[in-house]
Symmetry: C2
Subunit: 348 residues, 2 copies
Amino acid sequence: MTVTLADVAARAQVSPATVSRVLNGNYPVAASTRERVLRAVDELDYVLNGPASALAAATSDLVGILVNDIADPFFGIMASAIQGEIGGPGGRAGGERLAVVCNTGGSPERELTYLTLLQRQRAAAVVLTGGAVEAAPHAEAVAAKLRRLAEAGTRVVLCGRPPVPDTGAVALTFDNRGGARALTEHLVGLGHRRLGYIAGPADRTTTRHRLEGHRAALRAAGIEEDARWTVYGRYDRRSGHEATLELLRRDPSLTAVVAANDSVALGACAALRESGLRIPEDVSVAGFDDLPFSIDAVPALTTVRLPLAEAGARAGRIAMGREEPPPGGITSVRGELMVRGSAAAPRR
Amino acid sequence: MTVTLADVAARAQVSPATVSRVLNGNYPVAASTRERVLRAVDELDYVLNGPASALAAATSDLVGILVNDIADPFFGIMASAIQGEIGGPGGRAGGERLAVVCNTGGSPERELTYLTLLQRQRAAAVVLTGGAVEAAPHAEAVAAKLRRLAEAGTRVVLCGRPPVPDTGAVALTFDNRGGARALTEHLVGLGHRRLGYIAGPADRTTTRHRLEGHRAALRAAGIEEDARWTVYGRYDRRSGHEATLELLRRDPSLTAVVAANDSVALGACAALRESGLRIPEDVSVAGFDDLPFSIDAVPALTTVRLPLAEAGARAGRIAMGREEPPPGGITSVRGELMVRGSAAAPRR
DNA sequence: GCAGTGATAGAAAGCGCTTGCTAGCAGAGT
DNA sequence: ACTCTGCTAGCAAGCGCTTTCTATCACTGC
């Protein structure tokens, strides 16, 4: 029923071996023969059987990209950049590879299961993006999985994610700590002394690093920490909205709200406005990531731009073996402070 | 080097066949035997060889999701919902399936290539999302591909995409025409008579349908069309920005700008503001899709909400054979007009 | 004119798994 | 006691491809 290599071979009057070689192009085949084979392929509308080929060759052309939330442009932009370099169809990369993105939804179990699924498919490479869950049992399970993948010849790249020692995984880490620190320093420089902070989920590396940067800036400015000023939530708008109301309840005198990311900041803006507060006159707001919509907020969001596309592209190239990994397999990618209208000197 | 079924079998003192049956669970195996096998699997840290299994069983557990732009939440939200139902890891679906999203970037060639790649992998199902390219040669090529996929037993579902006749593909289509019409009717009802329209790429079904709906509303209101009022662009913010400046140049007396989607609308807002125009006092703006950030625009965007998550979930279930396809394999999903602050009665 | 040399093509042995069919065996029925 | 039946487990034949090794053939050079 379905066309096989043998059918093509018969039609082209050559052996299956020859057809295989024409298709893979890694063995000399006379031009005339090649043409005959190609014609037969075309006429029969033959499509290689991926599993069979992967089995025989002991390699596959699958590349997995793990993201925490595919509906979040933060990941979408990275995934897009990675995929662009993987080649996938249309990429300038050589053999066509199937770059697939897997949505973990931030769940550690799903992450692990996807990793297993990818291992099962004998993926050529795997790129993990975004913050990792820090809880020890999970972190260790992931490390073990990555080690095993590497052993099986799968290239592993971490993009915007902290290094995982002893796994052979290349890490392009975002300098969340530094970016957050610069951001808060900017606010402090404007004169803010009472700053609320809306953090992400408590067990994520990204959350911790950004919070650490924020606190480092406060400490450097001699501002004493107030436990009421930090609220944990999720990385979405809704969470920013809720958390802001909570912050306002805890301390109505806050002059600035620093959000874990831009979506959260947007939710914060909405909550502030609903509370009758003007931005930035009454309360300044700052985000993180500088996603495309952030510049359209009114006022435009002061935030930290992360080179998502660049980092993704680089991760993609490294995953494809088209670029040298950084020395030591680890490098830190810095963000850039984007000063815009949502943060100004406090007036109260 | 790598552990195989045979290794597990040896360790559990059973035949490979038995191990396979334990793992697939579709054949009676005595409880004691099963347990012994499972223990061996665990001890050896065995991971099934996907390609081998797919080859032997002539099926795979891969489900492909094609999106036009993975960095666009419009697709991200649908993809997320689809993936949630596919089961993937963590889903309540039975056997674990690898739901993968493929980013075509809106390119017809890539779309075709991904389809081939998926066919090559003998995917269990494929879900195509978003508008299709209408150019005849391409549309036909896609139709042929879908037909072939269906023949090979791959379930094909179109989500937010027009039906493709004679392919056996199930279609959950968005009623873009109706939504657009309702939106423009709303604006016209507010008193607008000179409305600019920023369309998407000219060859997309989505673009055409929305534009048709818009024009139908104008016609119904007896408003004569002006060719200057329509500008084509892409589905992104930047395009909205540029197109708006162009519209303003062509006819500074416009009182409303209707955008192809919310991102475009955001760009339009920015351009209007830069041009010294207030929203909605001087110019009303309307979007489409109602993405999460749209409510945070200032003023909040009047737009048409598309049930992206619901449609995606349904598409996912159908792809998994867990829900009956709609009668005739085709159904239209309606949008809902969201009246918000960005559109008001014209003042000039 | 004959061995030597390259260039091409074929034969065949798997790759690791699934599954139809068969075999063994214990308890049930007569 | 003997066949029948139902439950398990094993055998072995592939699934469709890649790749090593070998064979063939046309030249080349002496």
